[in-house]
Symmetry: C3
């Protein structure tokens, strides 16, 4: 099975080319450092519109068959922050442990980490994970949660992801 | 913009004057020690009735224009504990990180902290935060979450709160 | 009041006798080591069918009058993992602190702990708690959350559980 990973930046300004999408590139670089398996990014930069985010997540899961879709941006308390809502709307199961751990890790750096509504969930055979919008926080959060990602994808019958053990300590329980 | 902060004690007994509302006064004292900005409390003591709690929260947010509303009481597992339900009903966005952090902090003192269903959320331009009912736990919880409150209020377009850095380390990320 | 505790193993294979239900027995042994009060287990092994799990939980709470019902299995991200959904469907109140603490504790052992969707909640006068499916993780999770269980059952007007203080440090706040 060919490994595709969706990377979705939700940002009114990045999607209007007001500024460069550094966060999406940070995700791309981090995943490249983790993965030994060959993979192909499916990359989207879209505005903070809930219906458009839902449509994009659905397309990447259902049509592109991405086993993993990571988002950046739109998880704060502001009115235009709707990535969390879109994620909850398209997932059949939510995995609250991802958000809990990412907030815990971010709390070591900034007390405003509790304002993040980041979550994760399963849509059919895809895992969707919300990451922070700030580039510097992306690596911190991915380092925390990624060790559980390959086994999660095994459980939902996705491809077997091989990772570089010197960069990320992936864990798969023995059966 | 004039700063108003709602303080809502939900307690059948305090609202019937069976005992004094020490929790509400503890919140008042703690916020006074934090804030350098001038502010005015809007204070209510009401019974544990979900519809009345919802109406009070709505009034403080929509009519009184409180940028922050804190509640005390009604977040446990008992049948009459409905402050969490009322908060969830009136908020457009929930902020699970507040409850997670308050439970974590309270766990350092009592193992029954996991029974608390405290949450927080956004209603329009107001932040609502549930605090514990027990006076001694109020300061512990406020000390933990308040550092994120002024920036949250910035993000929802409320007033700029100035705080006493010797009492509380408020954090605002640089843009 | 006679103390009954429900123990529900949800597993397609254990219910079909493909393998022995070690997890249910682990729960039985752990609770026996905690409790000084006389108690009677009400034990069920059922497949991973949401409607059957809901019916079983309802029966144990409403007909058997179990003050506590613990489940094992069915809280992961796979399609057949529906114990969490069933628990949420039959509870009037959810207690997110149980899941948060169990995931935190399990994270000390395995990074895949964040994949668990374990929760807990109240149905009338019964507390329902999801435990992991893996036998080795059951004791770790029960040791973490059980100290809050007897007081929770007090609050929902169940029986007063007496425990062995040398095995588990139960906490009841002073009124």
């Amino acid at each position: 099975m060919r490994v595709k990973i969706g990377i979705v930046t939700t940002s009114d300004r990045a999607s209007a080319n007001v500024y460069e999408d550094i966060s999406g590139k940070e995700i791309m670089g981090t995943l490249s450092s983790y993965l030994l398996s060959e993979w192909e990014p499916v990359y989207r930069v879209i505005p903070d519109e809930q219906s458009m985010i839902e449509a994009t997540l659905t397309e990447l899961c259902d049509n592109e068959n991405c086993c993993l879709v990571v988002t950046t941006g739109g998880t704060g308390p502001a009115l235009r922050d709707v990535t969390t809502e879109a994620t909850e709307a398209v997932c059949q199961k939510l995995l609250p442990g991802f958000g809990e751990l990412m907030r815990n890790v971010s709390l070591q750096y900034v007390s405003t980490a509790i304002l993040s509504r980041q979550t994760a969930g399963i849509r059919n055979k895809s895992l969707i994970v919300n990451l922070p919008g700030k580039p510097s926080a992306i690596r911190q959060c991915l380092d925390a949660v990624f060790p559980a990602v390959p086994y999660c994808i095994d459980l939902i019958e996705g491809p077997f992801l091989e990772c570089n053990a010197e960069v990320v300590k992936v864990f798969r329980p023995k059966k």
